[in-house]
Amino acid sequence: MLDYITSYLSSNTTPGESGNVFWALVYIMVVFGGISVAVMAMNWLERKALAHFQIRLGPMRVGPHGLLQPIADAIKLMTKEDIIPAEADKFVFWIAPLIILCASFAVYIVVPFGPTHAITDLNIGVLFMLGVSSLSVLGVVMAGWASNSHYPLIGALRSSAQMVSYEVAMGMAVVSAILMTSLHGLGPYGVSAASSGTGTLSMIGIVQAQNEQHVWFLFKFFPLGFIAFGIFAIAMVAETNRAPFDLPEAESELTAGFHTEYSGLRWSLFMLGEYAAMIAVSSIAVTLWLGGWYRPFPNSLTGDTWDLVFSLFPGLVFLGLAAIAFLGVRRMPKHPYFRVQTIGLAGFGAVLGLIGLILFVPPVRDRIQDIFWFVAKVAGFMYLYIWYRATFPRYRFDQLMKVGWKVLLPIGIGVLILTAILGVVL
């Protein structure tokens, strides 16, 4: 049994690929645990960032600068009464949030945090991702129907129509990205070009293709990559019912969309699912267009000096966070009431500083590189989500569908065709 475990460590493939069930389970635990922690952190970040956009402070009371707020929310939701409407369809009502949760978490199986740090490397990675993300529509529709009242039903139908139509646009953008993996502009027939490699659907393959071609797909065939990325960015926001496209939860018309009748822990499952879907979709965007786990400018700024500089980044980031925490401690009012909070914040700062120092230790530094850069890029997307939410008013439903079908789709198909032509012609 022991060698079964250690045998995997030597091989340089993903656990799923090497069929090693034990390590696959470990990876799943790590990734899912990481995602839930990320969701909690995202919850805190969203409330604080949104507040500072709107010149207010956001949660300050629970823990220093509201740091314990997500935990307080979680406890509150767990202890809240879990109401099931009288004539609701018990089974469907119970299973709907589960489906949404499974759909959004299933995407992480293929998300590559590093060359070997992915749960498995399906050679149909992207296809699997598209398929699973379309499953969450089922959950939404069922949630709306099961709560057996008109507002959630209309909200559910609206949001599922929105998700289905933006999935098509998303698919177009993704296909044009995959086309880029194989077309180096060299081989006459991209697909069968035996030269440097065949097109691939596997996520790790795509990232490695970007590295080999020394260009992020965002900048490949200059305008096309960018437009495809733009379409994906818009479609991904609509796919997760966020920011300008959060019509189903538009308070002004329908009360709260498909999860109106849910409460307590069941409702928090929806929130967990929504945030997980957000992180999942932005990690796909990072993989496809921003060169997965490679550090920025992997090829142009090569040489060990640059490697050293970039490798220091993780440590510096954590030390910076620790500095901000200590700045907060210094600015905390001296009143005894705040003593607990100052100690808490100081402790938090110390922990961050410690992590920062550990990250400078060479062996740790190399191993952490891939994961750090991937997570940093995804975090950038998260901030984008919050920024959208603060600035944009809401689309009306028919405008939303118009943008989906009449704007994104034609451009998507156009980009697809142009990429193919450019690939063959160049």
Binding site: G19, V92, D121, L157, T200, L201
Partner: protein, 177 residues
């Protein structure tokens, strides 16, 4: 670039998973028929399709599994659920679930049972001896080649058919657009 199929790839089709997935498929098949409310049977159908996708994976056909998830579970079943919800199904729920022709049902069951028995008893001799040899490159590429290579014509006809169907649907639901 990693090869399509490494020689060291352990067989995914461990027997445990096989029985598990086929069991799920059968179970959901039964549920589809017996459930009283149409939404429950639709859910059972979705579950059945997903477990079928798992079976495809075991036959080294990830592309078909992916398509199965996207098209069947993600696309068609959503439309099923839409139709079930929008059309007011109260009357059908109250009708007698199993109507009279159980005699015909019984005959069909016996015939099918006989077929299964013959296959089970005769075993291998019924089928020509072929083992599923590993394919030379990835399943998706193979399908891509054939789809756009040999069966190009059929592919175009199918897309034309779909186009006509879409236009028909639009005309049917058209108000004065």
């Amino acid at each position: 670039m990693q090869q399509a199929v490494q020689p060291g790839m352990q067989p995914v089709a461990t027997t445990f998973f096989f029985y598990l997935l086929s069991g799920f498929t059968l179970l959901s098949g039964v549920f589809v028929i017996t459930r009283k409310s149409p939404v429950h049977s639709a859910l059972a159908l979705i579950f059945g399709l997903l477990s079928q996708a798992g079976l495809y994976l075991m036959l080294y056909a990830p592309f078909v599994a992916g398509v199965q998830i996207i098209l069947y579970a993600g696309g068609i079943m959503v439309l099923f659920l839409f139709v079930i919800m929008l059309v007011n199904l109260e009357r059908s729920q109250r009708e007698e679930q199993f109507n009279g022709q159980w005699v015909v049902g019984l005959l069909a069951a016996i015939a099918l049972g006989g077929l299964f028995m013959t296959v089970y008893v005769k075993g291998k001799s019924l089928f020509p001896y072929r083992i599923a040899q590993p394919v030379e490159n990835t399943n998706t590429q193979q399908i891509g080649l054939m789809l756009y290579g040999q069966y190009m014509f059929a592919f175009e006809i199918a897309s034309l058919l779909l186009l006509v169907a879409i236009i028909g649907a639009v005309v049917m639901a058209k108000k004065r657009i």
